[in-house]
């Protein structure tokens, strides 16, 4: 372990961080001000919690889509006055932010957009709807033709709600423009994450997560895309010069499972403190997000297809996730897979068994499930498990 460089530890790695990273790491504060200004000039804001929210419809309605807070431990005690303690921390945190009015994006939102993904979320949304106008989409939990027809009806219902709330008309033309804009964002996000296909990765998993997290709160999509593209170019240039926070033999880890963000980054941080390099986030804020909308054909149907095929564990069956993880393992030359599941997240916790069986069946990929929450109470214990896991992966590499 001693011979390995650790992320952000060496002065050299600290000095040569891509210049744009600094700018993106302060994006959140700037975005709050930009959002306030936009509101004052009459723009409408729609807050979302989940990747299933069809953002194109919000954009086509002329409103600003923003991700709402839900990745911090801080508001959880407040949420537990109402919600059961054993519930998943993401649901408790989201609700806690709302009732304590500590998420500026929630504060500025004119409408909340939510979906019936897991049981915990949909029942929490019933309570959230008492605080702010909330539109709940009934998300089917199977990915077939009948489900698609149903989902299309739900998209049309959302269009009517947005048109009525914001007194606008969502035309096919505006939908097509929104698709182009958001596909541009997806292309940019994919290009950024793909820099980690290089060995060693030119950016640490923690820094990559910071970027992915902060850009979710951006008000101006075009500006955010420009910023990300600039960062990608800088990282590729660093990589060309052989600069990386990691040494070539740092175990390359793919993180799959529940959504992670700043504040719920404990496992990413520990993996990299123990000498691993998180090269790929398969989760919602990461690679699950880069799948584009088909640009030919009926725009609304293409949007419906794109969102319905998201491989979240709330779908049954969810073969898409097995395929995606397997593909990313190859594309990112991954040495090990860590499946992060939140306590109380039944769907991801159960699906972990299926994923382990799938990954260890063919390629015998080292695999570890970690079930935890946002608190630091198990940090030392997790450190032992993660360090032992990386020792195991290192032993396998040495044997090759």
């Amino acid at each position: 372990m001693n011979e390995k460089k650790k992320a952000g530890e060496s002065a050299e790695a600290g000095l040569v961080k891509a210049a744009t990273f600094e700018e993106i790491s302060h994006l959140r504060e700037r975005n709050v001000l930009a959002l306030k200004k936009a509101k004052e000039s009459g723009r409408k804001v729609v807050g979302t919690y989940c990747l299933y929210s069809p953002t194109e419809l919000i954009v086509a309605a002329g409103a600003i889509p923003v991700s709402l807070c839900g990745t911090s431990q801080t508001p959880i005690p407040a949420a537990e006055k109402v919600l059961p303690r054993a519930l998943c921390p993401l649901i408790k945190s989201s609700y806690g932010f709302a009732i304590t009015d500590t998420c500026p994006y929630f504060h500025f939102a004119d409408l909340l957009l939510a979906e019936t993904t897991c049981d915990g979320k949909k029942k929490m949304y019933e309570l959230l709807g008492e605080l702010k106008p909330l539109h709940l989409m009934q998300l089917p939990q199977v990915q077939d033709e009948a489900a698609l027809d149903y989902w299309l009806i739900e998209l049309k219902r959302l269009i009517r709600r947005l048109e009525a709330e914001f007194v606008v008309e969502i035309t096919p033309q505006r939908l097509t423009e929104a698709i182009a804009l958001l596909n541009g964002e997806r292309r940019s996000l994919k290009a950024l994450q793909d820099v980690c296909r290089r060995k060693p990765a030119p950016i640490s998993g923690m820094d990559l997560l910071t970027v992915l997290h902060n850009r979710g709160f951006s008000v101006d999509k075009r500006e955010a895309v420009e910023l990300l593209d600039r960062l990608t170019a800088e990282l590729l240039a660093l990589s060309d010069r052989g600069i990386s926070p990691f040494s070539a033999n740092a175990p390359r880890v793919l993180l799959t499972g529940v959504p992670v963000g700043l504040g719920s980054d404990k496992v990413v941080r520990i993996v990299e403190e123990c000498g691993g390099s998180v090269v790929c986030f398969e989760s919602c804020g990461g690679y699950k997000k880069v799948d584009p909308v088909e640009e030919s054909g009926d725009p609304l149907r293409s949007i419906a297809e794109k969102y319905l095929r998201i491989p979240c564990s709330c779908m049954s069956p969810n073969a898409g996730r097995m395929e995606l993880v397997e593909r990313l393992v190859q594309e990112f030359s991954v040495d090990a897979v860590i499946d992060l599941t939140w306590q109380g997240c039944h769907t991801y916790n159960i699906e972990s068994f299926t994923l382990k069986k799938h990954l260890q069946g063919g390629v015998r990929m080292p695999f570890m499930q970690i079930e935890t929450d946002y608190s630091e109470s198990d940090s030392e214990q997790l450190k032992v498990r993660i360090e032992a896991f990386l020792e195991m992966v290192g032993g396998k590499q040495a044997k090759k």
Binding site: E371, S377, E380, A388, E391
Partner: protein, 253 residues
């Protein structure tokens, strides 16, 4: 080459000296100061072997306290160390069950003593040495007596896995007049079930080594062996397997 392995666990700190064979070993309680405990175990092992500190060429630290000692040349987790130690003692070992003071783990080994997969209990103390200690306390017996009174008793069903809830459950049983021996047997059964649950998540072999201080208790060995359907290999000094593994890893470097 003489190496030392020091395993600073949550309850006990163990040191083993190795130069091709075990030259000395010592164990002290960890207490509140893992740093002093590590040094004390090391110095006691040296004294037992009649060797000087300067003769040790490589010191490998493991266990929860491994971060606390500056004298370590290398730090390795107890999972890798237990696998290596068990493989040395029983070369046919393909599975290690380790129950320590505050955690329990099941480790799958490849044919060369390397970790192939492992599973560890989450942050609660269910089914660990601490669990046994608390339960012995409720029954007002020592750990040795807990084993002795369980022999041949018909085990009661203890359904709570959480240490705190299991304590309340047992207090309830005592109030109803359930015999201590039956409760003791029930406690061992509940730990065995917990290990069975963990073992279900890694590929289990029929060559299982049981390490950690809890393995000193013959009744728990019987319960776990019966639960897993195998006969366990139990080292003469099961608490030292991790420290031995650490010394071996230093020796092989």
């Amino acid at each position: 080459m003489l190496t030392a392995g020091i395993d600073i666990g949550s309850t006990g700190t163990k040191a083993v000296l190795f130069d091709g064979e075990v030259r000395g070993a010592a164990m002290v309680p960890t207490g509140w100061d893992p740093k002093s405990a590590g040094l004390a175990a090391f110095h006691q092992a040296l004294a037992a072997a009649g060797l000087a500190e300067g003769a040790v060429q490589q010191i490998v630290g493991t266990g929860y306290g491994r971060v606390s000692l500056p004298i370590f040349d290398r730090k390795v987790t107890e999972i890798t160390c237990h696998a290596r130690g068990a493989y040395h003692l029983f070369p046919d070992t393909r599975t290690v069950v380790d129950i320590g003071g505050q955690d329990s783990k099941v480790i799958a080994l490849d044919g060369e003593g390397r970790v192939a997969d492992f599973i560890m209990n989450d942050k609660c103390a269910a089914g660990t040495g601490r669990f046994l200690q608390v339960m012995a306390g409720v029954l007002d017996v020592s750990l040795d007596e807990l084993g002795a009174i369980a022999v041949g008793a018909d085990p009661v069903q203890i359904s709570s896995m959480c240490t705190v809830f299991a304590e309340s459950e047992i207090i309830g049983m005592l109030a109803r007049g359930v015999a201590k021996g039956r409760i003791a047997a029930g406690i061992f059964d509940s730990i065995a079930r917990r290990i069975q649950g963990l073992a279900g998540r890694v590929a289990l072999s029929d060559q299982v080594t049981f390490s950690g201080g809890v393995a000193l208790n013959a009744e728990i060995c019987r319960a776990i062996g019966a639960g897993l359907g195998v006969s366990l290999s139990v080292p003469a000094a099961p608490q030292f397997v991790g420290a031995l593994g650490a010394a071996l890893l230093g020796y092989e470097q």
